[in-house]
């Protein structure tokens, strides 16, 4: 009975559980089904929405693409028609000028016609080929034609026949042409004639079978500043064997260099990286890099020992010939280290120390800076570019990210460091590079193993660069180099000594090889009698710069002091106007001073300058000393108001700094206003280029009881041209045009 009741209870409970659980289970299942359905619907909706979105985006992009095609087609068609019309309009002026014999004008119109025809061809190409190909998404097909081809064409060598025919370069037979560089010169390949060979042999010079002629011509678009700059270091370049021969005739200037057949370092670097892969140079290429660096440093040492600053070391100026010999070429910016010229910013960005730019902006002189260190910065940047296949965009903080021995990283850092920490000489850097080069495994060498690294985590004492700079580049100088390094480090770790001895021997051999290769022959300049006055004057400045800087410093006569005072005043005032142009202005001023000095026999002999250095010119008379109190200088300002506001205060300050009393700036001084009017009247309409006008201004100064000089500044005809004249009672001193058109000189 009890059992039966218990069973009934269990059945009842079971039924109760079933009755309660069944609806819950059903609800749960329905919930899951609905949720699944919702997920599906949501997925479908979002998918459709995204699809629609992408669809619209695609339609938008497609529409935009088609729109670009139509727009480009219309623009190209209009430009094609425009170019065709313009070229048609140019035909009558060309023909007219040819008939009238106005060749320059005809040439001008002809060039413009050529430009329009080129434009028309480009537009035609885009209409027929370029735009349709881009429309169907095959842009990559056109890149070669549109980008690489123009680049290759732009760098193609120029005409092989020089203007004036193949006889233009006496003694040389033109065999080809090279691409034009950035200096505006044309480059020709040539072979010396037998007579020329004999001439060189007679003078003890070795002439290679093939040479490069770098030719500047006003007719071909070269400018006088370029010619002046290139000719500045000609003598030194000849002494280094970089230049074999040169000629100045008429308005042409050309010089001859040995031809080095090879690739530029940028190209070689790209090839090395292509072979090595993206992580950096492989061991073989790294060795080549180290060898190239050592060769370049040895060459650079020759420059510095000869007192020269290359100033433009970059991959494009290094030719690697067969046998992996690196040659430093292009001495367009080579500057004597002791030059009295003002430092300029010339050079190549990223390979030029920004500190040099800063100093140039301050107007410091070349001899006031250490050009050697700036060359070493460029060497560091060059090394960086070889290691990274890029350029040092961060200057001295640029980071080497590719595979590279730690010691080499250190060398790059040290060569690009702040000037006080930088290598003192190319030999010091070469010794470090040679250490890495000579090691069995460059990656095992650490910075502390380098000769320039001292004990206890400090740099070795700086080696006096003067020791090397004053020595001649011969074998005898090598022991002089090796000795101090060994003496500097008597406490070096014994395990490093064999390595250092090997390094020093390697350095000695490297320098010996390059020194022996130098042709140290000084040849006399060609006769100056054939020069045009324009080029002769440019050439004269080349000599005058070196001679005058010595003369001005050494002479202590009252006359010299007076000229110095005039020059300083003019130079400083002009520098206030245009620091960039100061380089040429000071050259001009010095040249004039040189004329003055040469006119006085006593000073001429004292300066040690010899008559054949400079051709006879129409010389100015030396200003005679009359008084010692500050000069009163009338400033005649013809600058536009915007420039006056900026520069007049500086000019005034500069003159005051040169112990001159500026006059003519006060608007309320009747006497000064009268002087200004009288000066303008005296100068007349011919000023500033008419010699008579300058003479009249000189007369005005002479007659004026107060004034000692007139400083006249004005804007030239060409944009950006500033002209200044400093006229004393003894004549004009230091003629200055910012754009350096010396043909404007009143003395020509």
């Amino acid at each position: 009975m009890i059992i039966s009741n218990f069973a009934s209870l269990l059945v009842g409970l079971l039924c109760l559980v079933v009755v309660i659980a069944a609806p819950i289970a059903v609800v749960f299942v329905i919930y899951k089904v609905v949720r699944g359905l919702c997920w599906l619907i949501w997925g479908a909706v979002t998918g459709i929405a995204a699809g629609v979105g992408y669809g619209f985006k695609g339609i938008g992009m497609g529409t935009s693409h088609i729109y670009s095609f139509f727009k480009n087609t219309v623009v190209d068609a209009l430009r094609l028609v425009g170019a065709a019309l313009t070229s048609i309009f140019m035909i009558p002026p060309i023909l007219g000028n040819v008939i009238l014999g106005r060749w320059s004008a005809a040439n001008h119109y002809g060039r413009a016609f050529e430009g329009e025809i080129k434009e028309a061809w480009v537009r035609l190409y885009r209409l027929i080929i370029g735009n349709p190909i881009r429309l169907i998404g095959l842009k990559a097909l056109t890149e070669g034609v549109e980008q690489r081809l123009p680049e290759v064409m732009a760098h193609a060598p120029g005409a092989e026949r020089p203007r004036g025919g193949n006889d233009r370069f006496a003694g040389y037979k033109i065999t080809g042409a090279l691409p034009r560089g950035g200096s505006g010169a044309r480059l020709y390949l040539a072979e010396p004639t037998k007579e020329k060979y004999d001439h060189f042999a007679k003078n003890g010079m070795v002439c290679p079978g093939e040479v490069v002629i770098k030719a500047f011509s006003m007719e071909d678009g070269s400018t006088l500043p370029q010619i002046v700059r290139e000719s500045r270091a000609l003598t030194a370049a000849k002494e280094l064997g970089l230049v074999l021969d040169h000629t100045l005739e008429g308005e042409n200037f050309w010089y001859v260099m040995p031809y080095v057949d090879g690739k530029d370092l940028g190209e070689v670097t790209r090839e090395m990286h292509t072979v090595s892969g993206n992580d950096g140079l492989d061991n073989k290429s790294m060795r080549q890099l180290l060898q190239t660096s050592a060769q370049l440093l040895a060459t650079l040492d020759r420059f510095h020992t000869a007192g020269l600053w290359h100033k433009d070391i970059k991959p494009g100026n290094v030719i690697v010939s067969t046998g992996n010999q690196a040659h430093l070429v292009d001495f367009g910016l080579v500057t004597p280290l002791q030059s009295a010229m003002t430092l300029t910013t010339h050079g190549t960005e990223y390979f030029r120390d920004p500190e040099m730019v800063r100093l140039a902006m301050q107007g410091v002189k070349v001899h006031e800076v250490d050009g050697v260190k700036f060359d070493l910065y460029s060497m560091g940047a060059l090394l960086f570019s070889m290691i990274e296949n890029s350029f040092p965009a961060h200057g001295n903080l640029s980071q080497i990210r590719k595979r590279c021995p730690e010691a080499l990283r250190w060398i790059v850092r040290r060569s690009m460091a702040d000037t006080k920490s930088r290598y003192a000489s190319s030999r010091e850097m070469l010794a470090d590079v040679a250490t890495v080069l000579e090691s069995a495994d460059p990656y095992e060498v650490v910075p502390a193993d380098l000769p320039s690294f001292g004990e206890g985590g400090q740099l070795a004492s700086a080696i006096d660069p003067e020791i090397y700079r004053s020595s001649t580049p011969s074998h005898s100088s090598i022991p002089a180099f090796a000795a101090p390094v060994q003496e500097e480090q008597p406490k070096s770790k014994s395990r490093r000594r064999p390595l250092q001895r090997g390094v020093l021997a390697a350095v000695a051999v490297l320098i010996g090889i390059f020194t022996a290769g130098a042709v140290l022959t000084a040849t006399s300049y060609e006769s100056h009698s054939a020069m045009s006055p324009l080029v002769a004057q440019a050439h004269q400045r080349d000599h005058a710069d070196a001679v005058i800087s010595r003369a001005i410093r050494t002479l202590e006569t009252p006359e010299a002091e007076r000229v110095r005072q005039h020059l300083d005043a003019h130079a400083e005032a002009v520098r206030a106007l245009s620091p960039q142009a100061f380089d040429y202005q000071i050259a001009s001023a010095k040249s004039d001073a040189f004329d003055c000095y040469r006119h006085d026999d006593h000073i001429h002999h004292s300066s040690g300058c010899t008559g054949h250095d400079v051709p006879e010119m129409d010389l100015l008379k030396m200003p005679t000393a009359k008084r010692t109190d500050p000069y009163d200088v009338l400033i005649v300002n013809d600058l536009p108001p915007s420039m006056s506001e900026t520069y007049l205060a500086k000019v005034s300050e500069a003159l005051s700094g040169a112990d001159m009393h500026p006059r003519g700036l006060a608007n309320d001084d009747d006497r000064e206003i009268e002087w200004l009017a009288a000066a303008r009247k005296a100068a007349g309409v011919g000023f500033p280029n008419d010699p008579d006008s300058l003479e009249q201004l000189e007369q005005f100064v002479l007659e004026n009881e107060v004034l000692d000089a007139v400083f006249w500044i004005m804007e030239g005809d060409d944009e950006g041209l500033l002209i200044s004249r400093f006229v004393t009672e003894d004549g004009p001193v230091g003629l200055s045009n910012s754009a350096v058109d010396l043909s404007q000189s009143p003395r020509n």
Partner: protein, 254 residues
Amino acid sequence: MPLQNDLSTGFIGRLRSRDPDAWFELWEIFGPILRNQLRRWGKGRIGVETVQDLSQETLAALAGAIDKHDPSRGARFSTWLLAIAKYTFGDEMDRRTALKRGGGKKPLSIEEEWGSPSPHPGPRDFYEQAVFAAKVEAAIRMTERESDFVDFSVFRMRILEGKSGREVGEALRVSEPTVSRKLATIRKRLRSHMTHIIAKFSFTEEEKEEGLRNALGTNPTKADDALFDEAIAEIWRRQLDLRAEDAAFEYGSM
């Protein structure tokens, strides 16, 4: 230590008096930022030479604007710099479009054009970061100029190149404590220059606190040193990437 306002207004004064050193400093520090910014705006429409020209024109425009600059108006230094660059760029684009198509974009539309939503920092943030990174770089440069070469090399290898203390010690054959000591010397100097540079190139209070916001505080504790090093390394890494982009753009055209 000079007051921050004095530094900033003193620098503006030097710019106004056309002090070449001040202009060179401005150009050296912010020239790359301007070039990068102009290149981004150009989006392939302008080449390397145009970027260089425009950055120089911006400098010329700055020379004109500096006389009219009023610090009391509360504009950020970076905004002031950007506004001038923007108008220079806008003028160039106007000139080009006027020449080619007869209508141009207004300078103000430059930012709108790339102001689309993106998970990455917006162009404005990117620019602000770049300007701040340029200030950090300037401080690092100042530190480098004033420091012993080996000491700075330790900092460079350890922080900027991410080598361990042991690796640096082995390379220079010095002990790890020596590495730490040299590092501390440079860190201290760098902090001081950071304060100076941020003050000099900041017009607003908010700008002056940029250092603190970027974990480059000037009153450090021991724990802050690690954060400071990390922050410098991170900013430097970004700066390198930015310049690498510029280098690729320019080197490709060389």
